[in-house]
Structures are given as structure tokens and as C-alpha cells.
Symmetry: C2
Subunit: 335 residues, 2 copies
DNA sequence: GATTTATAGTTTAACGTTTTACCAAACGAC
DNA sequence: GTCGTTTGGTAAAACGTTAAACTATAAATC
């Protein structure tokens, strides 16, 4: 049904190449006059370039892949940001939901790639969780296709998109608790190899040091950024006698909320809780969650930009990193 | 880097056509022996068919588009289901995030389509919300590309994927409240033109009738399935003196939770609330939300299947519809 | 005014598939 | 032993772009 480049060429009285030139903004090669003629003809014929034909020769699809592990509120927002930025730069996003269940992900990934994806981004949590995905990631890098992993550094090969100052975020949260008089502050972190976790922990230590409180490693419980982490860690924390808990993300904090009900304890009377991320849920709770707000969508945009720059071999412009901000709500109290 | 069909053909000692035949499962045309030879050669050369070349001639991309309006927990899950089913059937999903802000969506959609998408699904809430998206939807249908709208019926042209018996769901919720002794039951619905809303309301009426309670239209507040609906509707409901509220989705219920705090009232002591959908949040709340559980992901799968059947002109097999189930938690109480 | 150099185009050959039509051999049927 | 028919396979022409190399003017340089 669609008209072809030749139709436009004929109508405009020029060659197909010229039309192509116009549509690819190689305007230096074509005069304003002919450009106008071409555009008019194209509009009249309702012409849009056929991506398949173009891709066939350029070997660029202008499609990037996002390999998502499990979908949650946070990652959904990140992916939203990726999409937006990609679209802005003329790319589409294909999302490969790595299935939770089976082991044929690797094969799937291969096919996925051989469909002509220009690059891949592995959002938070995709890579670290599962060995076969990690393998898949390695094989992608080996195959030479541009790839970005978020929040995890792999072999130093891949730049790690982030764009948010999590050291500062961790510092903010901890300082807040200290200001409220807490000195025994538990931490429930994400996996150790997550940069976000490592950074937040740095910030935590920094705030402690500033206040002259010695760092006690036994107060750090390594979780996995999921609700269950909070539930599991709570008994341990209570055993340690902490008066406040810094959950490294809001999901963990929710887990604490949930688990705490079983102990007949309440927030913030019996224990203060601060989260991280500020997923929308935070202020819907009966006891609105004090947390660190970060621009989740921007983190996705950041990653997309970095990847596309990589694809197009542009010098990756140093992007500004965003400042986290403390949202004091009701889940923390003065001692 | 990639090897071509000709490489494989040469290695296997057959023609390119034969290789193509093998890879497209037109096995009737090729003997088992040659098929094996071809597969071996392909494996050795690590051959994958070039999708662009194929699409160029077949005019099928095996990509479907999902035009998402705003992303929320519910729609994220639906889209997850769409992706899974699509993948199962050999399709990839491209997600077009219609921007919340500007009016150039239509133009974007056009480009999006002219990239060779095989079909489009408009998930819940995409179409109804915004006029220009609705226009875009119309223009897509006019252009003859297979399209499915979820939850909204447009001109009867598009089949409306759903796969869930919402009349029954509405009935279940209402009956539960009636059994608990409530007779003055408020409803906060979604937009009027959503089938899901209409059906749930049918179920509501049915349960009322069964119990001999007259239907009072003034007890129905038309919302928009968002948190704000719940907040806005609460004063109205309180004014009406209802003892229970049936929120047509969990987000609305959350809005009630939030708003109720300002009145110093508590759930379920002062008012019973039942939701719908059972998004994961329901049991994280301090007062776990009684709600109607539905298989959200399956709804997405359902839609994808319907669309792909449409694309491939298969007779759309009548899919089983799923039964909603009542989850009694803590937000409703006996009067 | 001859020579270089921009400027604005064009011609032609890929790119890697699928599809249409055609063919040869083998096989029965009569 | 000639005539359909099935079986397994091939050659060649699309599909709609872009890229490389080339050309014909016009302008600039000396």
C-alpha cells in the first residue's frame, strides 16, 4: 500500500538517491529548492521510508533491547525513562522479558540479538540475579554488540549507567536518623555487587563517621532489594536492638512494615524506618514512608542516552548526575 | 559477522531456496535428509535468518506495538502478559509510550506504524483518556492495520480483548458486602465507557437484586480508576451515609485509604472497603485490602493472542475466560 | 582563459531474504 | 510404454532502501 522512494522521486522529478538524502538529513548534498520539492511529493504520497529496506543495507535497526528480569514498580519506571529517551533520539525499544521460569533464556537472547537489535540495556537487577542471564550478558558483550548494564559493573567492560549520587543519598538518610537521635541504625542493603548498594553504604558510613559513631558491620544485613528481604531481616534487626532501620529501597521497607505487624510493633513508635527510591507507594501507606526521593525515570533516560551514544560512537557527553532528596514523612521519629 | 543464507546453502550443497524452506518450516517441500544437512550447516555457521531481509519481502515484521498511556502497576503487568504471549507465538513487542505531555502523539503513532508493525494493542485506559490517542486509534483502524483495544469498544470494529468475567467479579464483591450486613453500598467506578466498569456494575446490581435491595443510582460515583478518584469520591460517599464502598479497582481503594486519614476514620471500623484487581499492594497495607483477585497477566496474554490470531487470520479460538476470586482480608467487616 | 574546486545531482550495485514458476526424476496406472 | 502425478529441488526476480563512485555544471583561483 505504502508508496516507495521511487514514487516520490518520480513525482518530484529527481533520483531516488536524492530523496534518500533528504530523508536522512544529508542536506548538505541537496539544495533547499529540491528538498522542498521532495518533501511536498512525499507528503502528497504519504510516504514513509521502509525501515526494513533501510536496515537491510545500513545494518542499523534503530531498535534497542531491554532485557528485563522481573517487573516491579521501580523497573517499570526506569524502563519508561529508557523508552522516552530512546524515542527522543529516534530509537524504539523492544523489551525482552526474560522468563522467570526456564533456562532457555540464553537461546532466546541470541535470537533476540540476531534480529538486528542495535544495542542492549540490562536494567537493575536483571544481570545479577541469575547465572544464565549473566552468561547471556557476557556472550552479548563478546559478540561485540553495544551493551550497558545498570547498577552492576562487569569486567570493567561495560560502562555502568546511573546518573544519581547514591553516596549522597545514603548520607542523607543516615544523617536524618542521626539527627533524630538514633545511634544504633540497622541497614538492609541490596546485593553486594550492586553499585547502588555499595554507594549507599558508603554514604551511611560517612554520616556515621561525621557523627563520631563507630561503624558496626554486624548491623548490615545483605538483602536483595525485594520485599522478602525486609521480612527476613526484621527479626535479626530486632535481635540487634536497633532503634532505626535504613532500608536500601522502599520494597524492603514495605517488607518491614509487613513483618512488623506480626510482632505487634508499630512504626515509628517502636522503630523508625527510612526507605529509598520514593516509589509512588510511599505516601499511600497509613504511616507514610520517610524515604530518599530519586528521579527514577531520569535514571532510565540516562542509561538510554549512554547506550545510544555508544551505538553511534559519539563521545558520551558527561551527563549531570541528579541529587537525591530526603522526604521526611511519618515513619521516622525523634528518639 | 553474520553468515548468510547463501553461505549455509553452499556448505550444505543445496540452493538458497531450500535453506529458506527449511527455516520456514515448509518441510513438506524438503526431505528429512537435506533438512538435516541444512540444519547442521546452519549450526556450524551460527546462522540466523536476517529479519530485515525477510520482512522486506514478506511485509511481516513479527513485531506488535503496544501503545501505553500512563504506566501503572496494573498496566505493567498486563503488558508483561502481552509480551509473554507474543514471544510464545514468535512475536516481539515494541512499546510506544504515548507521552503524557504533548499533542504530537498522532504523528508519532503514524511513524511508529510505518515502521512496519504487524498490529497494535491499546491496553486499558490508553484510548479513553485522551482525544488525540483516540483519533490515532481510529486512523490506525482506518489504515487497515490489525488493532485491538482492551476494555473499550470502538465502533464495534475492534474486538475487545478481556478474558475475565467481570460481571461475576462485581457480583462477588457486592455479595460479600451484603453477607456482612451492608445494605447501603457505595460504588466508585471507572469511566463509563470502560467495559470492565459496566460489567462490574452489572454484577453489583445483580447481587443487590438477589438480596432484594433496590438499586440507588446516586450511590454510584463515576471515577477514572486512579487514586484521585478515591480521594475525591470519599466526601460524597460519606455524605450519602454508606457503610461500605466497592472501589472498582485497587487504586481507587488506596485513594480512599489515603483520604480517610484526614477524617480520622479507620478501615474497617468506620467503613468497609473492597477493591478489585488484587495488585500486589493489597496485602502490604497495614489493613490488608479485601479485593477481587483477577489474573492480570492472563488478560494481557489473552489480548496478545487475539491480536496475533487476527494478524495471521486464524480463526480466533474462543479462549476460556477466567473466574475472578474473592480475597477476604481485613478491610471489610460485619456490621 | 585554463585549472582547480565546490555544489548538486545521478547511476549502479549491493543488502539477504522469499516467492513464483519451472524442472527433473521417480512412480503408478492403464 | 506413454501419460499424469507426486516428490524434492532450483533459478531468477523481486522487495525498497543506501553507499560508492561518477558527472555535469558553476564558482573561485591564478
Amino acid at each position: 500500500m505504502g508508496s516507495t522512494i521511487k514514487d516520490v522521486a518520480k513525482k518530484a522529478g529527481v533520483s531516488a538517491t536524492t530523496v534518500s538524502l533528504v530523508f536522512n538529513n544529508r542536506e548538505s548534498r541537496v539544495s533547499e529548492a529540491t528538498k522542498a520539492k521532495v518533501m511536498d511529493a512525499a507528503r502528497e504520497l504519504n510516504y514513509y521510508p521502509n525501515r526494513f529496506a533501510a536496515s537491510l543495507v545500513t545494518k542499523h535497526s534503530h531498535i534497542i533491547g531491554v532485557v528485563s528480569g522481573s517487573v516491579n514498580i521501580f523497573s517499570a519506571q526506569v524502563i519508561g525513562g529508557i523508552s522516552k529517551q530512546a524515542r527522543l533520539m529516534g530509537y524504539q525499544v523492544i523489551q525482552a522479558n526474560a522468563s522467570q521460569d526456564d533456562a532457555n533464556d540464553l537461546e532466546y537472547l541470541k535470537i533476540f540479538l540476531n534480529q538486528g537489535i542495535d544495542g542492549v540495556v540490562f536494567p537493575h537487577s536483571t544481570v545479577s540475579n541469575r547465572q544464565n542471564l549473566r552468561d547471556g550478558f557476557q556472550s552479548i558483550i563478546n559478540s561485540g554488540i553495544p551493551a550497558i548494564a545498570m547498577d552492576v559493573e562487569i569486567d570493567g567492560v561495560v560502562s555502568c549507567a546511573d546518573g544519581c549520587d547514591h553516596v549522597y543519598g545514603g548520607y542523607l538518610a543516615t544523617r536524618h536518623l542521626i539527627e533524630y537521635g538514633h545511634r544504633k541504625i540497622g541497614v538492609i542493603s541490596g546485593p553486594k555487587d550492586y553499585l547502588s548498594s555499595a554507594k549507599r553504604l558508603d554514604g551511611y558510613c560517612k554520616a556515621l563517621e561525621e557523627a563520631g559513631i563507630p561503624f558496626d558491620p554486624s548491623l548490615v544485613y545483605v538483602g536483595n532489594y525485594k520485599l522478602e528481604s525486609g521480612q527476613e531481616a526484621l527479626p535479626y534487626m530486632l535481635g540487634k536492638g536497633v532503634t532505626a532501620i535504613f532500608a536500601f529501597n522502599d520494597m524492603i521497607a514495605l517488607g518491614i512494615y509487613k513483618a512488623l505487624r506480626n510482632y505487634g510493633m508499630s512504626i515509628p513508635k517502636d522503630i523508625s524506618v527510612i526507605g529509598y527510591d520514593d516509589i509512588f507507594i510511599s505516601d499511600v501507606l497509613e504511616v507514610p514512608l520517610t524515604t530518599i526521593h530519586i528521579p527514577i525515570e531520569d535514571i532510565g533516560r540516562h542509561a538510554a542516552k549512554e547506550l545510544i551514544d555508544l551505538i553511534e560512537k559519539k563521545a558520551p557527553v558527561e551527563l549531570e548526575t541528579h541529587e537525591p532528596v530526603l522526604m521526611v514523612r511519618a515513619s521516622t521519629r525523634r528518639l
